[in-house]
């Protein structure tokens, strides 16, 4: 969407009350993010406190992207310049490094460090996370970079860090304990070289939520509704599902996931078997050959640009057979960004995903990005964790 000034004004929104008080609630804000001169639209930010393990030597970092599509905390080392945190030592005189890829060919690289991670009244003690920083004295291994782009600066990331609160407890799991072949963990000498490495599950970059002593089975993301567009949008993230008076599953419908972390979305006579909900995607992304795409050299590359707003619906189908219809609209993204250039929350941003023809059993997906969260309470349960009585085994979504 180009680099726009992030200031208030314009649009309209449904006001919602501030987040309910509670020792398991943190505030979320869609506000364009912390990067100067960058309007990171449809992205929800929060703050975290990181402390040297067991100490009161802490830093509060705001502008952290809340991402249900990844797992683990990743912080720009430049965002905590005065805080020294221990890096996880590997065999010999090496340190563990972590590499994760995103769907757009970008990646994050940096050492595995440990901290007490605190949010609201919750604390994950001695949790592994990723310090995002470019190595000095050696290069990022090609097994990590893969021809992609390193998001190692505030301007490139658009955030001071990413808080991955997806459906899994670690960013890799048993595969990285058993084999070096995932190329997610490396050991590096102080000035290189780096080698792909195994690492025990316990040392891997972890979903901070599973490290909490209570309220550790998932989160609820509750965002205010947005009517068209809005200067900002607020919400809250509540830790735990069915563990406190403020996080009951209630009447929310549960959609379980397959082994790859997907459910199915039926849309426009297409069965999209690789569908997911991702607060870190800043729009709805789905295949629809009938909607015009914005020009690549426009202010909104990668989004749809219909002449007029299009009203659509899809049906989500969980692995447990649960079904539910979702109605949504698609605006002309170029017009949205031009007409509401100071807004940061857009309810109707959408773009293409994969091929334009997903018939004949091909594997395609519906990526329900942040707009899906507007006006909903979305539950994210974490694989292997306890669930409320009567609910299916994790992992699942509920809303």
């Amino acid at each position: 969407m180009g680099l726009l000034a992030a200031c208030g004004g314009g649009g309209s929104s449904t006001q919602s009350p501030p987040p309910p008080p509670g020792n398991n609630v943190v505030a979320l804000m869609v506000n364009g993010g912390p990067a100067p001169g960058v309007n990171y639209s449809d992205a929800a930010f929060t703050s975290v406190i990181v402390c040297a393990p067991g100490s009161s030597n802490c830093a509060t970092v705001d502008g952290i992207l809340v991402d249900t599509g990844s797992v683990g905390l990743r912080l720009l080392s430049s965002a905590i310049p005065s805080l020294s945190l221990p890096v996880l030592a590997g065999p010999g005189n090496t340190s563990y490094y972590n590499c994760v890829d995103f769907v757009d060919g970008t990646y994050l690289w940096g050492p595995v460090a440990q901290a007490d991670i605190e949010m609201a009244g919750e604390k994950a003690s001695g949790a592994s996370f990723q310090l995002i920083e470019n190595p000095t004295g050696f290069s990022v291994p090609t097994a990590c970079s893969q021809g992609g782009v390193n998001l190692d600066t505030l301007n490139d990331l658009g955030a001071n860090g990413i808080l991955g609160v997806g459906n899994y407890p670690q960013d890799c799991g048993a595969a990285c304990q058993n084999s070096t072949s995932p190329d997610v963990y490396f050991t590096c000498g102080a000035s290189g070289p780096c080698s792909s490495s195994t690492i025990t599950v316990a040392k891997q970059v972890t979903n901070p939520v599973v490290g909490f002593t209570t309220d550790n089975n998932g989160v609820i993301i509750e965002m205010q509704s947005v009517d068209g567009e809005s200067a900002t949008a607020s919400g809250s993230m509540i830790f735990g599902i069915g563990t406190e008076s403020n996080n009951a599953l209630g009447s929310a419908k549960v959609y379980t996931l397959n082994d790859n972390g997907f459910f199915t979305a039926d849309f426009n006579s297409q069965t999209l078997t690789e569908s997911f909900i991702d607060s870190g995607s800043n729009g709805y992304f789905f295949p629809d050959a009938s909607i015009t795409q914005c020009p690549g050299n426009s202010i909104a590359p990668g989004f749809y640009c219909p002449a007029n707003t299009v009203s659509l619906s899809a049906q989500n189908v969980g692995g447990n057979g649960a079904t539910g219809t979702v109605n949504f609209s698609v605006d002309n993204a170029v017009n949205d960004f031009n007409n509401f250039s100071s807004d940061t929350a857009f309810a109707n941003l959408a773009g293409p995903n994969g091929g334009t023809n997903c018939g004949n059993g091909s594997a395609c997906g519906f990526d329900w990005g942040l707009p899906f969260f507007f006006g909903r309470n979305v539950f994210v349960s974490i694989d292997g964790q306890a669930v409320p009585s009567g609910a299916p085994a994790a992992p699942w979504w509920a809303y």
């Binding site: 595969a175 997911f276 023809n357 594997a363």
Partner: protein, 151 residues
Amino acid sequence: MKALIASLSVFVCLFPLQAYAALGGDAASVATDSAQMKASREVKQAAGYAVHQLTSESGTAVREYVSPSGNVFAVAWQGQFTPDMQQLLGSYFEQYSAAVKANKESHIGRRPLNLKLPGLVVQMNGYMRHYHFRAYLPQAVPAGVRQEEMQ
């Protein structure tokens, strides 16, 4: 995919410790590109092309599509972990890499990859748990092969 697999029936063979060929390469490179990926390989014949399916040590499934004239006109992979992209994309790797960089610089925020470049289409879907990638050469796709067959 099930329907497609059902129609692939001519021959199936297994080649342990074989790597895939690069996009735009020839079928011979499938055989010579060995050991790099520590992958098992299975070849299936479809109407108008052959699919070489490899499962890498990390569990990622890689498919390459070879035309009757022996040209690799498409590659695809799906799984949690990215395979060796330079190996997979071959001479198209630099074009891919430059396009990913330009794509990133054109906007802030994460969205599925959808690159339509001169002579090269690249698409990726999914999230950190499981990705689905494909790249193909539109000019080299044999007549009658549908886009959705390459995945």
